[in-house]
Amino acid sequence: MPAIRTTPADTAPGPQAFLAAQTRWRLVEILFWLALLSPFFLLPTYLTLASQIAITALFALSVDLILGYAGIITLGHALFFGIGAYTAGLVAKWGWGEAISGLVLAALAAGFVGYVTGFIITRVHHLALIMITLGLGLVAVEAANSASWLTGGADGLQGVRMWKLLGTFEFDLWGYSAYGYSLGALFVFFLISRRIVHSPFGLSLRGIRENLDRMPAIGAPSRARLHKIYVISAAMAGVAGALLAPRPIPRSANRGGPNQRQRRPRLDGLAGCGSGLAGGGAVRGPDAHDVAHREHVDQFAVTVDRQVSDAAL
C-alpha cells in the first residue's frame, strides 16, 4: 500500500522554487561540459569525428524534446535534419558562405516545414503517427534523391564553400573550427532546451505525454503545445543538419579509392548524420537504397541516444 505523504504547507516548495531547483547547475554537469573541450588538446586528430558526435548529440536533443518530453513517437525527424543540411549547403553553394546566418536560415526552413507538417503530426496517434512520420521521412528521401539538379542526388551536394567562421577561423581539414562551431551550437541549444523543459511549458509537455486528454482540462491546450514544441524541435534538427555544411573538402578526393576517409564529402543530409556514432563504419557506395537504409540507421541510433541526452538534461 503506498504511503500517503503529508507535507506541511510551510515546507512545501512553491512551483517557482521547484523549477528553480531543477534548473540549478550541478558540479558534474559543469565538469561534463568542460570535458567536451578536451578533444582540442587530447585528440586533435579526431576533431572531425568529435564535431560529428556533437552534431548527432544536437540532433538527439531535438528528438528528445518531442519524443522524450512530449511523447511524439517519430521515425521521420531526419527530414528536418536533411532540410537544415541542404539549406545551409545550398546557401553556401550559391555564394553566401557565412556560417552563423546559415544556421539561422536552416532553422527557419526546417521550422517552417515543421510548422506545416505539425498540423498533421498533432492530429494522429499511435501506429498512424509512426507511419505518417516514417512516410514523411521517406518522401523527403525520395525528393532529395530525384531532385538531383538541386541536391546532387545520390552523389551528394557538391561545391559547398564556407567562409571563415566569424571572419577569423577557417574551416580546415583538422576540424578545429568545425568542432568549435558544432560544440558552440550544441551548447547554445542545450541551454535553450534546458530552459524549455524546466519551464511551465516544459512541465505541461510532460503532462501531455502522460495524459493527452486530461491536460486541456487544467488549461494546457494539448494540440497547440505539441505543435509549438514540434516546430522548435524541427528548427533544432535543422540546425544540427546545417552544422554538417562546413565539412573539409580535400582537393584530391576520389570516391571509391582505397582510403575511404578521402571520399568525396557528401551532403546527403538525410543520411549523413550518424556517421559519427552509428554509420562510422558504414561508408558505402551512394545508391538510393543505401541512403534510405542509412536514414533508418541514423534515425534509430538517435532514438537510442535519447536516453543519453535525457540523462544529460
Binding site: 499511435h126 498512424a128 507511419m131 516514417l134 537504409h293 533508418h296 540507421v297 532514438t303
Partner: protein, 287 residues
Amino acid sequence: MTTQIVGILFDGLAFGMLLFVLSVGLSVTLGLMNFINLAHGSFAMIGGYVTLTLMREGGWPFLATLPAAFVITALISVAFERTLFRRLYRSTALNQVLLTIGLVFVSAAIAAYFYGTVQQPIQVPDYLRGSHEIAGVSFATYRLFLLVVALFLVALLIGGLEYTRFGARIRAAVDDQRMARGLGIDVDSVFAVTFALGSGLAGLGGALAIEIVGLDPSFGFHYLVFMLIVVAVGGLGSVGGSFAAAALLGIFDVAGKYYVPALGSFLIYIVLIVLLFVRPRGLFGKR
C-alpha cells in the same frame, strides 16, 4: 493498351500478394497484442536464407524448402517471443520499437557475416520459369504461382479464423482481450501460437520473395516499410484488410513506377500519409 493495363495489374497484384504473405502475420499479432514487432521483416529474411541454404547446401528442391522456411522461421520466432518479446507486451510503444529494431540490426549483421552483403539469387525449377501467353498477354509463371499460393493462403486463413475454434479464440482476443481472458481463453498461448504462425508466414513470404525482389541482409529494413504500410492501411487484425491493402499497394507501386517513373516512389508514400491522416485506423480497422 488493354494488354498493357492487364499486364501491369497482374504484376502489381502478384507483388501485392507477396506483400500480403509477408505482412498478414504482423497485422494479426499487432491487432492481438498491440505489440509493434519491427523485426517481422527479419523473420521474413530468415525464411529466405533457410530456402537459400537448403537449396544450395542440401540440394533440396525449391518447393520442398518452402514448408521448411515456414517451420524453421516459426520455431525461431516463438523462441524470441517466449524469451524477449513477451516482457514488453505491457511496455510503451517506444521500448517495443527500440528492442525490435535492434533485433533487425543484429539479424542484418549476422546475415552479412555468414552470407555477405551481396544479393543471393536462387535457381527456381524449370516449371516455374518462363511465361504463359493468354489472349496476347504474357503472364510470368512464377507470378502466377505466387498468386495461387497467396489465394490459397487467404482461403486457409479466412477459413481458419472464421470457422475453427482456435480462430474464434483469436478473434475474441483481438476484439477484447480482457473479456476473452475473463471467458477462460488463455490469451498468452493463443498469442504465442498466432505469433509463430504469423512469423512462419513471413518466412514463407521471404522464401517466395527471393525470385521477385532478391535477398540481401537489408531485406529486413527494406520490406519493413512495405509491411507496415500494408498493416497500417489495412487495419490491425484484419486479414481481409491486409489483403486489400497489399493488393492496392502492389498495383499502385507497379503502376506508379511504370506510368509516372518520376513520381513512382512518392506515390505510395503520399497515398499512405493522406490515407492514414483521414483514416488513422486504416481502411478496415475497427478499433
